[in-house]
């Protein structure tokens, strides 16, 4: 009896998927060059959404608009709307950039720990931006975050070594920890595994699985197996346009668009 109820609940949950971020008619430019054309997409809460597509199709540009990092490039322009919990992130009256970036964290392709900081300081860097914490409390948070990022066991004895002394995969998890430390709601991952070996990649994928219980995750990847493994939804981009957005299994087994099919079957790109 209990089991039946649980199953029903589960199904209910599937149905009421909540949109965490929703993107409407998003276009983006670098100077005169348009890189994104009228993107519309819903990013669901506690789901992993993968962005796939050939190199240069605008995947990075797209996710860099979700935390407004795109605008920091000189000459860059945007139009359209992006809502976070129903509020437009470009609307200056409702959200400022600092709060937005606190809520929408990001990890880059190349691991970028702050080179002159220790592992501990790297994790604490973001926390310190939002107010001083007593040392004891900070220690506690750093430990908890590193555990969450599945890095604690590997670094607990070397917390005061420089960040770059870690392996590439560890550095990337450190960057994930750094992003988690400011308690974001959404995490953007821009090809987080492309510089890593298979074992580190597996660790990060496992981590993504764990994290999605608490976060909304968007991951850019070149690796279609990876998208298939980690993502609930997948969006296919081509030449700055979003061609198809669907449940991951559908994208890979029954794509609607010919171009998606060509790409996922490896016929181009």
């Amino acid at each position: 009896m209990d089991r039946v109820i649980e199953k029903v609940k589960k199904e209910e949950k599937m149905v009421i998927e909540r949109s965490k971020m929703s993107v409407e008619n998003l276009s983006a430019w670098f100077g005169d060059k348009q890189a994104l054309f009228n993107i519309n997409i819903e990013l669901f809460e506690n789901k992993v959404t993968a962005i796939i597509g050939p190199s240069g199709c605008g995947k990075s540009t797209f996710i860099r608009n979700l935390n407004r990092l795109h605008e920091t490039i000189s000459g860059a322009k945007v139009s359209g709307k992006v809502y976070l919990d129903g509020r437009d992130i470009f609307d200056h009256n409702c959200c400022d950039v600092v709060t937005l970036r606190r809520r929408v964290g990001m990890v880059f392709q190349k691991p970028t720990p702050f080179p002159t900081m220790t592992i501990y300081e790297n994790v604490a860097a973001g926390i310190k931006l939002y107010g001083k914490k007593p040392k004891g409390k900070l220690d506690q948070i750093v430990e908890q975050i590193l555990k969450q990022a599945a890095l604690w066991d590997e670094v607990k004895d070397v917390l005061y070594k420089p960040g770059p002394s870690l392996s590439g995969g560890q550095q990337q998890r450190l960057c994930i920890a750094r992003a988690l430390a400011i308690e974001p709601e959404v995490i953007l991952l821009d090809e987080p595994c492309s510089a890593l070996d298979p074992i580190s990649t597996a660790k990060i994928e496992e981590l993504i699985h764990k994290l999605k219980q608490n976060y909304t995750i968007i991951i850019v990847t070149h690796n279609m197996q990876q998208a298939a493994r980690v993502a609930d939804y997948t969006a296919f981009f081509l030449l700055g346009e979003m061609i198809e957005f669907e449940v991951t299994s559908k994208i890979f087994t029954a794509p609607q668009d010919k171009r998606t099919e060509d790409y996922v079957t490896g016929r181009f790109g």
Binding site: N67, L69, T72, S74, V97, V98, T99, L100, R101, R102, G105, M106, F108, K110, T112, F114, P115, T116, M117, T118, A125, G126, L129, Y130, Y160, P162, P164, S165, C175, R178, A179, I182
Partner: protein, 259 residues
């Protein structure tokens, strides 16, 4: 190697002075070429103080200039400022000296330690600004973006992601500047007053190692006098080396060798 040879030469040439006055030379304020009585202290004091004054003025100014040029300004105007500062480096030091005599010294109440320091600071400004600007700009862009992505403001991004990696380069800029300040001869000689005395007032005339060597070498009559001047040169060299050493330790300490 070259440094060792140079050191050896200076040691030999100054041995007479060292034999005559011993260690007391470093702590004596006497300077009387007519009676062959010499002491190095006022020159050491003048050299170090004028350089410190120069650094104290040029470092904050140059650093803020470079931060402004590298991080804040996006206008075309900034290129002009950068060129103007670079031009400062191309002006011969005699010209600085002339300007110091006619403009700066009267404004600061005559030739003095302070006037010398200020002239030096203006000469250091382009070095410190240009090098700091370059090292700040050389900090990888993705570090800045990492900080921005954490919600850091522009200034926080600078503190978090730029200053640390740029620090060793900035220290390098300071050493280069300091090296130049310690050894600068012409402009300083023209405005510092050239009096071998230690005065608590910054407005009193002073003398530097480089200046006294330049001024008196041609006129040094006695053997002892000559050798003493070489000894002053040796001291200058040693001070420069020590400054370099300290800077290196600073760099080493700040680049990842914590705890």
């Amino acid at each position: 190697m070259l440094l060792l040879l140079l050191l050896l030469l200076l040691l030999i040439k100054s041995s007479l002075g060292f034999k005559t006055f011993g260690f007391g030379f470093f702590f004596s304020s006497a300077w009387d070429p007519l009676h062959d009585v010499f002491g190095a202290l006022p020159f050491i004091y003048g050299t170090i103080m004028s350089s410190l004054i120069a650094l104290l003025i040029a470092l904050p100014l140059g650093l803020s200039c470079s931060i402004y040029l590298a991080e804040i300004s996006h206008s075309k105007f900034k290129e002009h400022i950068a060129t103007m500062i670079d031009l400062l480096a191309a002006i011969p030091s005699v010209v600085y000296g002339l300007w110091g005599i006619f403009v700066l010294a009267p404004a600061l109440g005559g030739p003095s330690l302070l006037t010398g320091g200020v002239i030096l600071s203006i000469m250091l400004l382009p070095t410190i600004t240009a090098i700091s600007r370059e090292v700040i700009q050389a900090v990888p862009h993705n570090l800045r973006e990492s900080a921005l992505a954490l919600g850091a403001t522009k200034w926080e991004t600078f503190k978090l992601a730029v200053f640390g990696p740029a620090l060793s380069g900035i220290v390098g800029a300071v050493i280069l500047g300091l090296g130049r300040a310690l050894g600068e001869t012409m402009a300083v000689t023209m405005v510092i007053g050239n009096r071998p005395a230690i005065s608590p007032s910054l407005f009193a005339p002073a003398y530097t190692l480089a200046s006294v060597i330049a001024n008196e070498f041609a006129e040094a009559t006695s053997e002892v006098n000559l050798s003493v001047l070489v000894e002053l040169g040796l001291i200058l060299l040693v001070i420069t080396v020590i400054v370099n050493g300290i800077a290196r330790i600073l760099v080493w300490k700040t680049t990842g060798h914590k705890k």
